[in-house]
Symmetry: C2
Subunit: 312 residues, 2 copies
């Protein structure tokens, strides 16, 4: 392919994006992936036991590495930069600018941008983000060496974040923020092993601190001192890409792009979506299946054929 032209952009390199990339490039489409596997939520899973067909239990990271190698074997090109802007031209082509302000042009797009990070709506969240409030343990954990941190959330995702932080911070607690915990048994063992405290807490009303986070104030008036608060509340509201392309959205907070799970089709011609960013079960298997389905649609669209042949 020409340096900056291709048949299909894939935004996101988690299980959905990589599955789509494997199919598209194997069918001979020039395929360009924005984003990196390390940013996928599954990259933080220490073990994925429920994904069909893998002989030994692999970490999320190992699964992603395998998938990336498969896609590269068929010719998928990976950009290390993220897509920061996208528009549809009058001639129907899509133009993406990446974080290096480089433009790329393609005839189709598959959005597999994943869950992202859900805002909490807690007072002072925005003011203190980057100043003690964070959405990513892998990104910011290092800065909390020997400090006291909390994770806000109640799921296995929150637990993975906590385990990551336990490698750096002196004290780690998971606060349920007024809800029930929903954590697997194996994860509970890891919580104990890593000396992480599980606290069924009231709703957090506000983050407090001058230049940096110093304490939490709960809805019942009680307080708790901490140096860092990591938000792990699940999926984000819809991505910027959806807004820029005029994609239909649904779900709580319009968080999800509306896409047919069997074809990946959205309301905009040439734009497909798959995986966590479209809602449904947040499972590797489901995302891989939808990535495959979206790719099959793109292959038919680009080649102008009605049936998908296996392009081996």
């Amino acid at each position: 392919m020409q340096e900056n032209r291709c048949d299909v952009f894939i935004i996101g390199a988690g299980p959905a994006g990589l599955s789509a990339a494997i199919y598209c490039s194997r069918a001979g489409l020039s395929t360009l992936v924005f984003g990196s596997p390390e940013k996928s939520n599954i990259a933080r899973a220490h073990a994925v036991e429920n994904y069909f067909g893998v002989a030994e239990t692999l970490s999320g990271k190992a699964l992603l590495e395998n998938g990336k190698a498969q896609a590269q074997r068929f010719g998928t090109r990976f950009l290390n930069s993220d897509a920061v802007d996208i528009k549809k031209n009058e001639d129907g082509a899509f133009v993406i600018k990446d974080s290096l302000a480089q433009p790329y042009v393609s005839r189709s797009v598959i959005i597999c941008s994943g869950m992202g990070f859900k805002k909490s709506g807690i007072e002072n969240e925005r003011k203190l983000t980057g100043k003690g409030v964070s959405f990513c343990a892998a990104c910011d954990g290092f800065f909390f060496k020997n400090k006291s941190v909390v994770i806000v959330g109640g799921s296995n995702f929150a637990t993975e974040e906590a385990i990551h932080l336990a490698a750096h911070a002196a004290k780690v607690a998971i606060l349920s923020h007024g809800k029930d915990f929903s954590i697997g048994k194996e994860m509970e063992k890891l919580i104990a092993k890593n000396k992480i405290k599980l606290m069924k807490s009231p709703v957090i009303k506000s983050f407090e601190g001058e230049d940096n986070l110093q304490r939490l104030i709960f809805a019942d008036g009680s307080e708790m001192a901490c140096d860092g608060a990591f938000l792990a509340l699940g999926n984000a509201t819809a991505s910027d890409f959806a807004n820029r392309l005029g994609l239909a959205r649904a779900g709580a907070g319009n968080a999800f792009i509306v896409a047919d799970p069997r074809t990946g089709e959205t309301n905009v011609k040439g734009v497909y979506a798959a995986g966590d960013c479209t809602g449904g079960n947040a499972q590797v298997a489901k995302s891989v299946g939808e990535g495959c389905n979206a790719a099959v649609s793109v292959i038919k669209f680009i080649k102008g054929v009605k049936a998908y042949a296996d392009y081996a």
Copy 2:
């Protein structure tokens, strides 16, 4: 679990059924699988290159063996017999009788019965089935040692059947039966390597022979002698299970069970379906994802909970 009682029946042990079995048993549900992986269409694929996450390219058989081992590790029980009858009792329980006339009782069912074998409608098909006309190279290929056989079909599936037969038969030809071929490049190489003849044939009008198949007669009046004819035309019409349970159907010839791809739900409470028997792309990835989705629904149904927790 008690000998003949369980939480969930899974009918079929292909990628959808095994993915569902892994999820259900890992969540603590007593899980009983009817059917065997060897009967899955993917068992005949010599290489599956497009399934995300697998480091080395595996055969379909190896993928299925891995999946079965995963399910067994979590406690799934496999019956070697097939399910031959199913009904829903007045109390909402499902009773299956297997090929040994043994009854089993469960609270839910996931149907993953795959594509099955499509009838051709060619004259004398029924009369000569088992007498030269067959639907399964793996089952009957052995009987055509040093004989001359044809495969009727035009897809990679037909090619896999032909390759299987080439190990036994003296002469193997694939007849397109009035349609175009849709065969991948890698498969074309295998066709050449195995000295299989590709024949763009007219529509076959009838199978002819007294006790056994002796020749084909084409719609244009021409004839061709052969000892065996293997039909590889794609998916079957709907399974008996669907009829017996009153499941809604759709697609050409009502071949598919109507199921929500995101939840596996059918029109009958407690009955879910996933994979090829529900239509959509016939791809391992897609079936594995739908098996996962159906299983998550069953787990919520049996446990009476609204959210799925990862049960590790």
